[in-house]
Symmetry: D3
Subunit: 237 residues, 6 copies
């Protein structure tokens, strides 16, 4: 369960900081490789993962008429992805055809979903970039998904960008990319990353003022710890 | 022959819509893979393909002095590419050296060509991005083309971005990428894509208003068809 | 030694022009492949290379605590890279984890360094893109460098983006990418590129006016040489 | 259902001939890309697919102790793959760690399975190559599968070597590689490939005797058809 | 023109030695990358290049029936490749479908051609490996060439394995791979490589006897030159 | 220090078993990716690493004449690599030119070295495959190393096949590939792997006799442990 408090905290930390917090726990592969924001609008994407798995398309099973089936997994997923959730698509890192297009992504947005991520590509990418919904992919790709992808499973564990994604894991996207936090760690990672962010903001301020990183980052000098305590007191963080 | 009517229609449809129209005819590889606009300026690139084929450069045949030959295929192509045509370069998907630079691209622009595409990279890419001429490549690449490419053939069938390109095929580029329409299909594809675009615009409007995609996209509900007819009547499309 | 005069000249020529000047001397691999500016701000990056070599990280040698060591090569390098120099990192073209983050890059900026380059990726890339310091990488990458990289050597000859980089080589970055000039050639390359740039500017002007590139670029027509001489006289270049 | 008759026919045709028979039906992606026999022993592998899906391993879920769980999908699959079936593993084309090792493959062999295929790699590959069981992979890979793979699903539709594989599809391997025949087509494809093989054997004999391929392959000359009829009568095929 | 004397010499030198002789002349890209012998039988492949160019297949132009056309470039090439020549196919380094199969390769063999090379893959590769004709490819590939390739040009300059190949260039294959010698250099390269081979054989003998490579390879010690002269006198080479 | 006892033990365990022993200690990247034996002759390669680092070649620094310098790092390394050691070359996973050829490898063999490994390719690979010295590379590559590599450092920490290699680490190669054991762990890993190998041999015997892997591998059934104890007593292992 993603609490409002944790969601709020995760809105204000970076994927880089989260990656370090996960690294400290031995989790080194939670960042999605080669997945980029279509256009970052300043607010982090945060939500539990709702997954969609694609397999290679067999031509006879994937004529354009398959979408007339209301139970087609891609269409079903778009209607059932819970509000607040992030749809994460396993496209086998293959962007030669689209994972989805602007109409489906618009529907997700209208339905109140928190974002959409694929390790393939989106079509209508300029329109998707304009939407308020956060979206992440590898690169634009105009061909319909049927060209090489067949949607086969909803809400099963998948890989995306070489990272493991389990339904319900907490997905966070910023201007850099996307990271996946195992569900049971979300609260503690959010707390730790918030603390780390305060410290990093303090360090950045000091570095801008001309201080060396030695003894400051990490704060191996006692004075650095004292200064940080002062800074927190002063800034209220 | 690209008629003015077809050119005009193709100005107002997306490569994604065109890809679907081609997919319905069994053509799945007409979209150029890994080829991106240098900077999209809002108007589609449309024109018949005029092709240039590169082979790997042999060092002794490619000193800088080759450009003193007025018959050098790259320079010849730049002077002979017809106004209204799109120059498409087969760079064997290799962007380690440039396919062309800003001076040649400027010349194409001044001569009234419709655009330039390579599956390699351009040099002087910031300057080319500033030009009015639509341009598409894989990534910026400063080294002169002689470093790894030798221009060898003009206006022969080529591959570009893993797509087949025959001279005279109709090339369309938008903010997403580039697609190639076999010449004999251009008129019917332009018509069909125009119809599809009207429907997609209608669907997008309905989805934004909150309607589900089920029964609407595709319009398996009778009501969707009625609503679309109304919309067309109302909007004049 | 990078003289002020040469630095100034290199501020006003492009990596494409430099690549051609190096090509004429048989140097075909000085451009860094797949390395892009985070955000180009209009001024070329110019400075001698100060290098940092990464090797694959062995997990037991790379816990987060290594940064408590003031002699850690990455941190040492950030404090010792000379003002005016460009830090060039050999990340083995592997961007699965970061080469550095915004705090270290800020420190380099405050210390007066001229720029930072990696053939991997930076974390905190949106923040780094905002800094005044020129920065170049392959793609954003949030994971801490310890995830796959171990900093092992400072200021040794390295590869970066498949180009050879010796400490002291002159590194130039523009809106396109980064090129490395062997130290002993810097002055003559800067001179030659400045001359070439004047000629290219002249040619661009003529092409914009409608002149053919044949006989003009290169200037095999005698008239082209005369016109260029006139242009130089007129423009004072 | 794979009948004995069809199994027998598929024992004596090549993946190349099968690929052509599938191509004629519009199926172009049934051959597994980059998957090779460890050591072909002269008999085709034939059997229905029993699939195993791997996802990227999350470190905390994949300590060495997971194999103590008798329900671990990899171990369960090895005990439950039906005799006569071919185990096909979706390793996401990632051979950086093993898909399985010699003990599990030996168990499959003893249990009467027909073969094992992965688009990753096997460990203990020299021992596996020595086994009577046909085996196919991309390349040898010593690290335990836990290093990067987590077995997650048994007998679901998967991708393998970029080909779609549904449980029950008929998998055929020869000295060249592996191809997948959709279950409902197995009988007719086996028949057609058997006919094609007879013709190809005839053609090969004629070509060896010095005949041109023109008019013979395909048999556009009437005489070629007559000669083939004679050959069939004479050879009893 | 490939003389008998040069052909004979090239039968007895390695692609490695030839690569060095070409390197000395500034030719660094004549070795075909990622192209391997199907099964080397001890005799070098030597012959002038007869080229075949493939482009990406457009589905509507490549039904199985195209081979009924006697003028189909692939079939035509197989019947017209001159005896003694090596057929070199530009498959754009794409082995997802075959470049040719055993029947065509058998026909080339029977017609007296010297070998066949592709930077893609062959189908029926076990049968081709058994033929007396030398053959080189990237990897086995069962799908018919129509799946992704369309034969489009005969005997034009091409790229193969990233090397430039002009019709008539001399192609040499050994147990390692394939190299291309520009036609006008064939005689002198054959002579030089023959001399180099004698010296390398001498050096190998000395190294096996325990001598250091320093001063011997290259022969910077005067004694090495004397010993080599003795060795030549003694061995008659 | 590699003791005789440890060397002997490592002669009789597989890289797969060693990978698992290292995995248990959190070391997941010690296996060299994409590195294969030229021809395995039945005996493991075992020895401490002696490293050689290559950087991208700058053309002016790498004419053929560089080998006249006795201090050239490649030649020096071949004369100084200690008997019993394994030369490991960091070729940046680039096999477009050779890492070394048969003469140098023969010299290493004669000098009593234990083997040679590169993550690039060897030239004269058929001759090297015939030598008694164990050798491992990615693929054959005829061009001289000067074409793209410059030997720059001897016995520094390197990457090879994406694995970290420190001078003195223990390198083991078998019929599958190569793995690197951190020096300080060599004795305990050799002991543990020897124990594991005994158990795996026992398991293999039981599986061949028809026993299920469940409860046996790992031995979660008490009976499995008893049977193994009996087997050890009986076989003296």
């Amino acid at each position: 369960m993603l609490t409002d408090a944790t969601r709020e905290k995760l809105k204000h930390v970076s994927t880089a900081t989260l990656a370090t917090a996960l690294f400290k726990r031995g989790l080194r592969r939670q960042y999605l490789q080669d997945v980029h924001p279509l256009r970052f609008k300043g607010d982090n994407m945060v939500g539990p993962a709702y997954t969609l798995r694609y397999m290679p398309a067999r031509e006879d099973l994937n004529p354009i008429s398959v979408f007339q089936d209301r139970a087609h997994p891609q269409r079903k997923a778009v209607e059932e992805c819970p509000p607040g959730a992030v749809m994460v698509i396993d496209s086998r890192r293959d962007a030669r055809a689209a994972s989805a297009g602007s109409i489906l992504v618009t529907r997700l947005m209208v339905r109140g979903c928190a974002g959409i991520v694929t390790d393939g590509g989106f079509r209508d990418s300029p329109e998707i970039a304009d939407l308020a919904l956060p979206s992440y992919h590898h690169r634009p790709s105009a061909p319909t998904n049927l060209t090489i992808h067949q949607a086969i499973d909803i809400n099963v564990p998948i890989g995306c960008g070489d990272a493991p994604v389990f339904p319900g894991d907490i997905v966070v996207g910023d201007g850099e990319g996307v990271i996946v936090i195992p569900a049971h760690l979300a609260d503690e990672i959010a707390d730790e990353a918030t603390e780390m962010t305060a410290f990093e903001d303090f360090v950045t301020e000091k570095v801008r003022e001309g201080r060396s990183i030695l003894g400051l980052y990490p704060p191996t000098d006692e004075q650095s710890k004292i200064d940080f305590a002062d800074w927190r007191a002063r800034t209220g963080r």
